[in-house]
Each structure stands twice: as C-alpha cells, then as structure tokens.
Symmetry: C2
Subunit: 215 residues, 2 copies
C-alpha cells in the first residue's frame, strides 16, 4: 500500500518534471539542481558562482528551504532574480513547486537557472525537477565515508563539488577513499575540489558551468 | 489527499511508538534517539559515550543507515549489543522498524538504548520512536544559521550537542547567534559544546546521560 502511494507520488512528479524539461530545453536554458547536507556549502557555492558568472551569463536562482529567506537574501545582493520556495517543513522540492514559480522568470532571457534544494542528502535525490544536471555539494568535515553511506545521491550526480578543502590540515579526511568510493558508484562523475572560503579550485568549476550553459 | 496519507502514516507510527514507550518505561530503560545531518558526528558521539559509560551502565545501540554497516562495525568493538537497520534508501527510522528488532535485545538487563537515526536533519524529527529524549547533534562546520533554517529538529530536542568546537579558530562561527536562535525555539533545551575529536566538553554530556539513565 505504501509502495503504491510512493509510486503515485513519483509518477506525478516525473510527469511534471518531463514537462519542465521540455520547457527548459526549448528555451535553451541550463537548469542545475544543487543538493547536499545542511551546511555543506550549497549557498556559498552559488554565491561564488554568481560572482564569476553574472558578467558572462544571465542567471536566476530558485532557493528551497524549510523556513526563512536567509539564503535568498544572501543571493539577491548579486542583482539576479531569486525566488524563495519555503516548503513548510517538507524535506525536498518537487517538480510542481518549480512549475508554480516559473512564471516569476522571463525564461527566454536566461542562460542558467540554479535550483538550491532543501539541505538533505537523501530525499531530494528521488524528485526529478526537470534539471539537466544534479550537482551534489559535499564537504570535508562531513567525513570521507559519505559516498559509501549515502550512495544514491552520489550515483545520481553529474557533478560532485567537494567543498571546504581549506580545512584539510585540521581534519582526518582520506581523499583517496572518498574518490575511490565515488568512482565505484559513478565512474562518469565530474569532481571539483574547492574551498568557497578561500576560493581554491573554483575556477575549474566556474569554467565547467559556463561552458555547459553556453553550449 | 496527500495530507490524509501522511496523517495515516504518522498515526500508525505514533501508535507503535506509544507501545514501545510503555515497554521501555516498564523495563526502566532510557532510550535516546540521536538525530543530525550526515557527518555531524552522531557515531563519534556514541563512540565517545560508550568509552565512558560501559563501566557504569549496560548499553545497547540500534544503528540506522541507508546502506552499509560501517557505523555498526565501529561500535561493536566496544563489546555492546549493536543491531544495524538498513532502511534501503528510506530517509528515517520509524517505530515499526524499532519494534521489529527489539527481540534482539534482553531489555530488562539494559540501562540505556541509544538509537542512531539516518543522517538527516528533517525527516526523522516527525517519527516518534518511543524514545524518552531526542538528541540533536550539530557541528560547527555546518554553520551558525542551522537552527534558524531547520527549526523543527532543534525545537523538538531535549538536548543539543554542538560538536567539532576544536575547529572554532578555523571557522567563522557566531556562537552567540547559534545559542540565541536555539533558545528562541527551545528555551528548555540542554546544550553541550563538545569535540569528539579532542574530548573537550564530553564529561558534562556523559554525566548528563549517566544521571538520566540511572534515575
């Protein structure tokens, strides 16, 4: 019974997501869905990306949060359109929420739409939002065992951004183990090692995003 | 429709949780439900607690994970009974899962049962497991805005353990802001500032747990 209910929820979500994907593709718009644990650095990564991209690309952001507009407020100072979705406690964004706010944007004028999901390494993975790529943000303080313990998020990602590498010397993080586990579940993944705090490694990530949005 | 389904799931969970609570109380057993984001340090906190408690209390652990038995393996070396529940991708433990594994333990011989939930600061909060206290583990690298952004977890906690305070000098974490936000949503909470890495602050936490289990 629970399985049937879950299947119905996913089927409905997938249908709307497919509709969104058609809209995004016909607008020539790259849409990325940014996932990760609370505090991994999703908003910081978007801030750093906007710093480097707004002179090259026309970018907009959808911010998903349980509560508050703290993250949207952080991003509005970059002068890009930002729409906040508060899920009211729900643990993920779904495609209907995205469809409901799309009229806030003038899609044909945009190159890149960044969707920041609710901080959660589990539930958002199963809810397709019509995006072209899932970007998983992980961070060194979370530990080198996270791919093994949360494989679905990492196997579904086009890109993994491993953040907070400036803390490497303060932590006991086995980079080889993390990378080995990641390649085992997702051999085609792009991995960027960055620090949104110091800026290390962000150039490669920004180049990737820029190229994908421009193509 | 979705609300009715959700209500039915919670009602069923709450009924089983109430039955568990009666069993735990009649056995004189303290049960704590440990929640937090992936990598906050839930397993490390349990490891440090077992180091200090196993000569005073008879302790058992239920380990909840999406996949792997990595955490259970870490805890078995303390010589306590550990049961692993793999949720197969589900984002939280529910009371039926706990009821299903209870026969693995000899409850009347135990003082303390520690349940480590799936790493997730959102979904586990709404699933009562019949526990006496929810313990939320947060950590400095997650950022000082986490109470504001994930208020339900923090308002439902009897105890918040703020871990990784040894990284204080490497991070820009506003302790006053964290504590102010926490007291605003949960004035009665007990807050312990610890480092499971260096051991700072653990004595107070262990005393609290010991006293609660002995009373």
């Amino acid at each position: 019974m629970q399985i049937n209910i879950a299947r119905r929820i996913f089927d409905t979500n997938d249908r709307v997501a497919e509709r969104l994907r058609n809209v995004f593709e016909s607008s020539g718009l790259l849409v990325v869905n940014v996932l990760g644990s609370p505090g991994a650095g999703k908003t910081s990564l978007i801030e750093r990306s906007l710093e480097h991209l707004t002179n090259k690309l026309r970018v907009a952001v959808i911010e998903g949060d349980l509560a508050t507009s703290l993250d949207a407020d952080r991003l509005r100072r970059f002068g890009v359109p930002v729409v906040q979705i508060n899920t009211g406690g729900l643990c993920h964004l779904d495609s209907a929420m995205i469809e409901n706010v799309l009229s806030e944007f003038d899609l044909p004028t945009l190159d890149l739409l960044i969707i920041e999901n609710v901080g959660n390494l589990v539930c958002p993975v199963r809810f397709d939002l019509g995006e072209a790529c899932k970007i998983v943000v992980a961070s060194l303080p979370e530990g080198d065992d996270k791919v093994a313990k949360y494989p679905t998020a990492f196997s579904s990602a086009s890109v993994v951004v491993l953040n907070k590498i400036d803390l490497k010397n303060a932590l006991n993080f086995d980079m080889d183990r993390f990378e080995r586990d990641l390649l085992a579940v997702n051999p085609a993944v792009e991995l960027f090692r960055v620090s949104c705090c110091t800026g290390i490694g962000l150039d490669r990530w920004v180049d990737w995003l820029n190229q994908r949005a421009a193509s």
